[in-house]
């Protein structure tokens, strides 16, 4: 089991993603990096940010940032810890989550709307990691 959120978890996420043929197919033309921002709630008392460099179906880099302001990215997908838990457990759809205000997305919306299949596969990938929530 890998603790979430942690450096080990995002490393496991990257490893799984780069083996994930469904994601590679859906994101084969995607170029753009992401920050996944976990806002404090419940057991997580400080904001946590993961950085992912996603390019043509692969993840070139993934790490936990020292702070949410350590760097910027093309896109930031943010939500509270409890909502991230639900997302990883597939209790929330990533797009529905945005439309119902449980998550916020910063970045080029029109570009993301052309890659909703890749977004789904990216979230599905998270469910493949045996996760122990904080």
């Amino acid at each position: 089991m890998v603790k979430y959120p942690s450096e080990e978890w995002i490393t496991a996420f990257m490893t799984e993603l780069n083996k994930n043929a469904d994601y590679e197919d859906a994101a084969k033309t995607w170029e753009g990096d992401f920050i996944f921002l976990i806002k404090p709630e419940g057991a997580v008392t400080q904001p946590v940010a993961f950085y992912l460099d996603l390019f043509h179906g692969k993840c070139r880099e993934a790490r936990m940032l020292a702070s949410p302001t350590e760097r910027t990215a093309d896109f930031t997908y943010e939500g509270t810890y409890e909502n991230w838990k639900k997302l990883i457990r597939k209790e929330i759809d990533p797009i529905k989550g945005l439309m119902s205000g449980k998550f916020k997305l910063h970045g080029n919306m029109m570009k993301v709307m052309r890659y909703t299949r890749a977004a789904k596969e990216l979230v599905n990938n998270a469910t493949l990691i045996p996760t122990e929530f904080a």
Partner: protein, 385 residues
């Protein structure tokens, strides 16, 4: 937690009379050239005039409208300053009305800013009213607008909840002059909306209720009104069913059938209803195992016992298509040569893949599966993968 969004509806034969009671100083009617030639906007002008409103008409909407058309309609709105924008016609006119309304309300935006992920802050200058004359795209009830980027360009699937009209006026006298071909095409589109909404990942009890009723009504009355356009009862039933189909898919989304149909339609300029209609049986076969319980909600709705398999359900649709003269395959359209089809395959697959519709499909197709679906639909083969 989810939402169900609907305009206020006023319906019935002659329902456009309602316009005389809406306080309006200046109304911009957006419609297509054919409707304008037939004098249909004048029925609305007459009612608006009773309420004291001044009216201008933008009558330049084309089938499968371009972004440029919406921009020109918005320019007319900006110059005229309406407090009411009315989309009158089929999906094309109503979709242009939604986009023009957005650009009029927010001249700082482009159509590319219309996504479901942002607050647009509309409704400060005008109200939006939709009046469908086809039965139909259901656009009068939805928050989606489909525009094409340029001639032969990709279809933009733009959406935002604020694009739902304040009022949808569903007047069953308006579609009575639709010829059989258009009646069949637009009715097929309505059925696709209803069936795809039922199987969508985002289906919910409210969208299901409208979808089931729409399916039953269309199976019952579409063949009748295609055969006899003067059958007022059948015409009315199909007209309402189209709006119900819109309420269903507007709140549950559509799926791979529409992704494939948008792609084929944009590459080969096939009218929307005819294009998505081709793919419905194949989409059902592809999706059935992943959405069996959802499809089984149609048991009894089609009046012939339980739905047991994708082939059985798709056979119902194929029989209906045969009754109304819909093409069962892409090749049988007779307008696309096989060489052109093969040459276009990478673009067809790319456009379908980038459609938001695939994401809500109960079984998300890979690019390889999208290609296989196109090929099955080309030849008429049953989908068994």
């Amino acid at each position: 937690m989810w939402f169900f969004t609907s305009p206020r509806l006023v319906f019935g034969p002659g329902a456009v009379e309602f316009l005389s009671s809406i306080p309006t100083k200046r109304a911009l009617i957006i419609c297509d050239r054919d409707l304008a030639k037939r004098g249909v906007p004048e029925r609305l002008v007459e009612q608006l005039a009773k309420g004291g409103g001044e009216v201008k008409i933008f009558a330049d909407v084309e089938p499968e409208p371009l972004v440029d058309t919406a921009q020109r309609a918005a320019k007319m709105a900006t110059e005229f300053g309406p407090d009411c924008i009315i989309g009158l016609g089929g999906g094309s006119a109503m979709d242009v009305a939604k986009a023009a309304y957005t650009l009029y309300e927010r001249p700082d935006l482009t159509v590319y800013d219309i996504t479901p992920l942002v607050d647009l802050g509309l409704g400060k200058k005008a109200k939006l009213i939709q009046v469908p004359t086809t039965s139909g795209t259901g656009s009068e009830t939805t928050w989606a607008t489909i525009l094409t980027e340029g001639p032969g360009g990709r279809k933009l699937e733009l959406a935002n909840r604020e694009l739902v009209a304040e009022w949808a006026i569903i007047d069953s006298l308006l579609p009575t002059t639709m010829p059989p071909r258009l009646t069949a095409d637009t009715g097929a589109d309505a059925l696709c909306h209803a069936v795809e909404a039922i199987s969508s990942d985002w289906s919910n009890p409210f969208s299901d209720a409208y979808a089931k009723e729409a399916v039953a009504s269309i199976f019952r009355s579409l063949p009748k009104v295609v055969k006899d356009g003067g059958n007022a009862e059948a015409r009315e039933e199909v007209h309402y069913a189209a709006s119900m189909g819109g309420l269903a898919f507007g709140n549950a989304q559509v799926g791979v059938g529409h992704a494939l149909g948008h792609s084929l339609g944009s590459v080969f300029k096939i009218p929307h209803g005819r294009s998505v209609g081709i793919f419905l049986p194949y989409a059902i076969e592809f999706n059935f195992d992943a959405a069996q319980e959802k499809f089984r909600r149609l048991s009894g709705v089609l009046g012939e016992g339980p739905v047991r398999s994708g082939r059985e359900l798709s056979a119902h649709v194929r029989r209906l298509w045969d009754a109304i003269g819909m093409s069962p395959s892409i090749s049988s359209l007779g307008t696309i040569g096989q060489t052109d089809f093969e040459k276009a395959m990478p673009e067809l697959v790319s456009r379908a893949d980038q459609s938001t519709c695939v994401s809500m499909n109960p079984r998300v197709p890979s690019t390889a599966e999208l290609e296989r679906l196109f090929r099955a639909a080309w030849s008429g083969a049953t989908v068994d993968f």
